[in-house]
């Protein structure tokens, strides 16, 4: 029987605690609001003239979580924003071409994006756009080729399982993911690179696993830990933001508060800061009180390493930081000797009070899904995995709905009040606010699920490997959904088309990117290929052909565990059990001496080539085998006839060589079939003892084993 035991390894991976090796976070030399990645330090517009961005039209994007699904939807939204063109006059107000004082060259609404707050999958697009700009919208861009259309999940799996140098990180799998994203998607860029880029300023949101507070990857947040964000790879922020519980472990970030960095910002003492004031607000403003408490918790010097989880646990649509900015003036501030101020954080409310805003647009790309479930059609509840999924997914969805309502409320409060404006001087009197949400529930539905676009999108997987057709659909419908959306504020709602035409006095062009005419399950079945299998378990039947006269042919059923990897070299680790019937000449006669049960632990290399769904692997493994020997009843009888009774048996350990080839074919999204040929060679010693009788025999266990079977995808 031939058994692959890589399952043991995988279980170890899944159950390993979230600790051990991690990349150290550098210490901050000195607290300084004039350095590091902060909103106020990022140039509003690129140096090129004419300026393409201003505070007059302040656009905030909130990109939700949802793996590649969310990332592709966000790209679609950006495509549509790029297709909106308009002009501003010198006072920052929209104007029409040819009007006096109106700029000659139109700008796009994408140029006007100032802040992107993102979670999980959305963080890939946010970081990609901040780093590479509009080029990520091209199908030929490295971002789309290496991420949107690339099965990144397969690489992640491969890196974790097949590369021994990564096994030290199995307890902290986010480290493996961060290394992969750093190399494959973000080209080793750090936050220092982002400091040199113009807006948008990005906020990658994670969650502090201890307090449940949001954790933003910016220097304002890292100040609280006396840590320096600048040398930190962007990929680490993206990974922490997308460290979905269960799939990945937490990401570790070091705090250097024990050593200190001269921090004198909010919460460091004195009454003249928002934390001191906020801590008095337990009943007056519980949200502010909690924010002050959370900041204080980050300053705790006993917390030397923070552990971050998926940002979706605190806010799955990335809007909480936007609400904070719209509704609060709380931020870090340093008064300089020359009377100027250095500012941390970002506050739209402060900008509004200061008369800097004219139009505020908040656009949410919400990749929330609502999958079909059959759990309620039977008495038995969901499986353990189902419960775990619900426990993490349902709160995210519910919290997201609450968040959307809060942002609407905040925007309504920031809107000008006519009655108010007549009585008081109001910096908000000319401010226009808009909030658009892109969500699958606005897609057309159909009673037949196979023909329903809404059903198609709401049942897309949350992973980092979607089919090209699915990505095409997401990009196109993301743009279309924004074009067809309606703003929740002001009331009565205003369509995006009217907003562009009347409020921006601009033009709405056709969004770039793919344009699949129909995105439904029925079309998807034709367009999509078979999805990759990573882990299959199944049954197979094997036959061993003895290659020496010491053993006999054998056959029987066995279990199969198949772990795939993309083309290339990989490591093999294999634990298995093999059994051989040993023939021997017991004085005078040839008989079945007994049965060797050999356990083998093998390591080696394999080379894989994949052609569509056919995968061919050739490998060589070397290891050690040990086991037991059971003397057969026939041999005992023979020994008995010769006056030898009570024979003790023993088999020695031996070196094992095992070259092999295999062919596997993914037959469908669920089933794979394959055949494996293995040459197994070892020569253990069998020893028999009884009184003065001692017998030692070297057994050549060389066999060729052919196994064929069928396996079912579990991942």
């Amino acid at each position: 029987m031939f058994v692959r035991r890589r399952l043991v390894l995988l279980l170890a991976i899944a159950l390993a605690p979230g600790a051990c090796a991690h990349r150290a976070t550098p210490k901050l030399a000195a607290y300084d609001l004039d350095s590091g990645y902060r909103f106020e330090r990022i140039a509003v517009s690129a140096p090129a003239a004419p300026a393409k961005n201003s505070n007059d039209v302040f656009v905030v994007l909130a990109l939700s979580g949802g793996g590649t699904r969310a990332a592709a939807l966000s790209v679609g939204v950006m495509n549509q924003l790029k297709a909106v063109t308009f002009r501003l006059n010198s006072r920052g107000l929209p104007c029409a071409a040819g009007e006096p004082d109106c700029e000659a060259t139109p700008r796009s609404l994408l140029d006007e994006v100032d802040v992107i707050s993102s979670v999980s999958g959305g963080s890939f697009t946010a970081a990609g756009y901040a780093l590479y700009g509009p080029e990520i919208l091209s199908r030929d861009s490295a971002f789309q080729k290496n991420f949107l259309y690339y099965p990144l999940q397969r690489d992640l799996f491969t890196q974790a399982v097949f590369y021994p140098q990564n096994w030290q990180y199995l307890g902290a799998r986010t480290e493996i993911a961060a290394k992969l994203y750093d190399k494959r998607v973000f080209d080793h860029a750090t936050f220092k690179h982002l400091e040199a880029r113009p807006r948008p300023y990005i906020i990658l949101n994670g969650t502090d696993s201890t307090t449940g507070a949001r954790f933003e990857f910016n220097q304002d947040q890292f100040d609280l830990l006396c840590s320096d964000l600048s040398p930190v790879p962007i990929a680490r922020g993206v990974t922490a933001s997308s460290a979905f519980p269960g799939l990945l472990n937490s990401m570790a970030v070091d705090s250097h508060n024990k050593q200190g960095c001269g921090y004198n910002g909010p919460g460091s003492g004195g009454d003249d800061n928002w934390v001191a004031q906020g801590l008095k607000d337990r009943t007056l403003n519980p949200m502010r009180y909690r924010a002050a408490q959370q900041l204080t918790a980050y300053r705790d010097p006993s917390r030397t390493t923070l552990h971050l989880l998926d940002g979706g646990l605190a806010d799955n649509i990335g809007l909480r930081s936007v609400i904070q900015s719209l509704a609060s003036t709380d931020r870090a501030i340093t008064e300089n000797p020359d009377g100027t101020e250095s500012l941390g954080g970002w506050s739209l409310l402060s900008m509004g009070n200061d008369g800097q805003l004219k139009t505020v647009v908040v656009i949410t790309a919400n990749a929330r899904v609502k999958r079909d479930s059959k759990a309620d059609t039977r008495v038995g509840g969901p499986s353990t995995f189902g419960v775990l999924g619900s426990a993490s997914g349902i709160p995210m969805g519910n919290y997201s709905s609450d968040t959307l309502q809060l942002v609407q409320l905040a925007l309504e409060q920031d809107a000008p009040l006519e009655e108010h404006a007549r009585v008081f001087k109001d910096a908000f009197k000319d401010v226009k606010v808009f909030a658009f949400e892109v969500a699958f529930e606005d897609l057309p539905d159909n009673p037949d699920p196979a023909e329903s676009e809404r059903h198609f999108f709401q049942n897309l997987a949350t992973n980092f490997e979607l089919q090209p057709f699915e990505v095409d659909c997401l990009i196109d419908r993301g743009a279309r959904l924004l074009r067809d959306s309606e703003s929740a504020v002001p009331l009565p709602s205003r369509s995006f088309v009217d907003f562009v035409r009347d409020d921006l006095r601009g033009e709405l062009g056709v969004a770039g990117g793919p344009h699949p005419p129909t995105c439904t399950d029925s079309v998807g079945k034709k367009e999509n290929g078979i999805r990759s299998h990573y882990i299959d378990v199944g049954v197979q039947y094997g036959k061993s052909f003895a290659q020496s006269s010491d053993i006999e042919d054998d056959d029987g059923p066995g279990l199969a565990l198949r772990i795939t990897r993309p083309s290339g070299l990989s490591a093999i680790v294999d634990y298995g059990t093999n059994k051989f019937d040993v023939r021997a000449t017991v004085p005078g006669t040839s008989t079945a001496l007994g049965r060797v049960s050999q356990r083998t632990l093998l390591g080696g290399v394999a080379y894989t080539r994949r052609l569509a769904q056919l995968e061919a692997t050739a490998g060589f493994a070397l290891g050690y085998g040990w086991g037991s020997f059971e003397v057969s009843d026939a041999a005992r009888d023979d020994f008995g006839r010769q006056g030898i009774f009570g024979v003790d048996q023993e088999v020695s350990g031996a070196l094992v060589l095992a070259p092999r080839v295999s062919l596997w074919q993914n037959l469908s999204n669920r089933i794979a079939a394959g055949v494996t040929g293995t040459y197994l060679h070892s020569t253990p010693n069998v020893q028999l003892r009884s009184g003065d009788f001692t017998r030692e025999q070297k057994v050549d266990t060389s066999t060729i084993k052919i196994s064929a079977g069928i396996a079912f995808k579990v991942f």
Binding site: D271, D272, N273, W274, Q277, G278, K280, D281, L284, N285, R288, Y289, A327, S328, T329, D330, R331, I333, E335, G339, E341, L343, L349, S350, G352, N353, D354, G355, Q413, D414, L417, E419, H420, R422, V423, F424, K425, D426, A427, F428
Partner: protein, 133 residues
């Protein structure tokens, strides 16, 4: 959202919780809760700051926080501090009126001080806004 009007005889930046947020004579929108207000440098005003909970305001009845000028010599105020704060509240009084403090700013320390004292009493008598010093 809460609404606060900070008054001073001249237009000055207003600092809330240590940071600049708008200017005097203009209604500021703030988060509900405790805040500390001052006018930053130069410290030629009194009181040096106002700490107060900001709550239950409305766009038409903002909380009024008044600062008055203080003459300085060598960093020490020459003039005595202004009268104690008068939290003027007149029941049922929610009359609309123009933003007096903002529109009646006068130059010159003496005029400004007199105007602020008068203005403060006048607003208190009409009772449209809560006033804190």
């Amino acid at each position: 959202m809460e609404f606060v009007l900070v008054t001073f005889p001249r237009i000055r930046p207003v600092r809330v919780d240590g940071g600049r947020v708008g200017q005097t004579g203009q209604v500021l929108r703030l988060q509900r809760g405790n805040h500390i207000f001052d006018l930053g440098n130069p410290r030629d005003y009194t009181p040096p700051n106002v700490q107060t909970p900001v709550v239950n305001t409305s766009p038409t009845a903002p909380m009024v926080i008044a600062f008055g000028p203080a003459a300085f010599a060598g960093g020490m105020p020459l003039a005595p501090p202004p009268p104690a704060p008068r939290a003027a509240k007149k029941k049922g009084g929610r009359k609309r009126k123009k933003a007096g403090a903002a529109k009646k700013q006068k130059t010159g320390a003496r005029k400004a001080k007199a105007s602020a004292a008068k203005g403060g009493r006048r607003k208190a008598a009409k009772g449209g806004r809560r006033k804190v010093r």
